[in-house]
Symmetry: C2
Subunit: 199 residues, 2 copies
Amino acid sequence: MGSKERIQRLKEETRLNILDAALEIVKEDGWQSLSMRKIADKIEYTAPIIYEYFANKEGILLELTRKGYIILFQELKAAKLQHELPQDQLEGMWMAYWDFAFKYKELYQLMYGVDMSCCEVMKAFPEAEATTNIICDTIKELMTADPINDDLVCRKYFTFWSVVHGLISINFVRKGTDNTTNQHILRDALKGIIKYIND
Amino acid sequence: MGSKERIQRLKEETRLNILDAALEIVKEDGWQSLSMRKIADKIEYTAPIIYEYFANKEGILLELTRKGYIILFQELKAAKLQHELPQDQLEGMWMAYWDFAFKYKELYQLMYGVDMSCCEVMKAFPEAEATTNIICDTIKELMTADPINDDLVCRKYFTFWSVVHGLISINFVRKGTDNTTNQHILRDALKGIIKYIND
DNA sequence: ACATTTGCTTAACAGTGTTAAATTATTTAC
DNA sequence: GTAAATAATTTAACACTGTTAAGCAAATGT
């Protein structure tokens, strides 16, 4: 009797339902709000049922992370195929990477650990503004244009911040990599930005 | 009688003790492990006492974030004073920013929401490697040197990743900024890196 | 000496992840 | 068709979490 397979199919379906429910909750109220009981509510079961499909909460998160990498890879592949020259492919893929992060914001957060909690923090702290100012002031000193384009200053600041924060993130994630070579990368990148600071 | 002031001083001290205890716990076992009761244990009180010094747990985190920004500002200031030319000051400050992130790793995590959970995840997922490979392959195609310097490829990949991830982080944190200008910054930065991909 | 305030703790509530036991439903065997 | 065995699901519980209210004990004011 083929009922075994039907049951197998149903089990596979509720497994997917769990993942969908989890992602739905996160989309509605953020990662912090995700709980086993809420997932159970959404799939109309009780919490312990989930443990027959996933070892624990971490297991669900790992599966969603995997899902994220699969989607990202597909998007990169598609972007690559839209161009001929390697440099265009490269740019296209990184743009696709960018798009992915916003299209699948929750997955990207999970994949790269971007915590959103500092959203209002930024506005509330004069200290944060001070650090921005001391750097922006120096950037202005390097600018030859008169009058100074404040928008350009802001963009340059963001560029700096991106490179440095990005490299730091990598160093946090990839502990194995030695610090000195990354520091070299940083220094080179900085010199480059500074050199062309007037666009 | 001056006992009022003595008591005031003691209260100020336990307030600092709470912050120190919190940071100590985080240094030992990470942010996830921080709890009100553990802090209370460390300062040899019970949990509710903390609520006479801070509104809630978030209040403690906010205060530590503030502390982080204060320290960062001081380090940037010191770095700036060590140079004469603006370009040197700029480079020095960003290097100081870099150093701060590692010297005060826990504070930096709190300030910019860098979650460390993806540490082992990276190694465990072939999907993550695939995304790395498809990009690195294209980078190699752009390289003119023969034989190809794999270390340089790796560095270029990290540079790309840094810029993109950094910009994405900014966009997550600063929702107000409009997406199109940041996308311009990204595209320009990418073209720049690609142009000078052979160092 | 009595009343009042202060400092601190215990107890409790609602929530979390997780596990074991109890219960219900379904299938199997005769 | 009824009884036994198995599977599916729930309830109950444990050890945590942040947070609040009630209670107690010691210091202070009068």
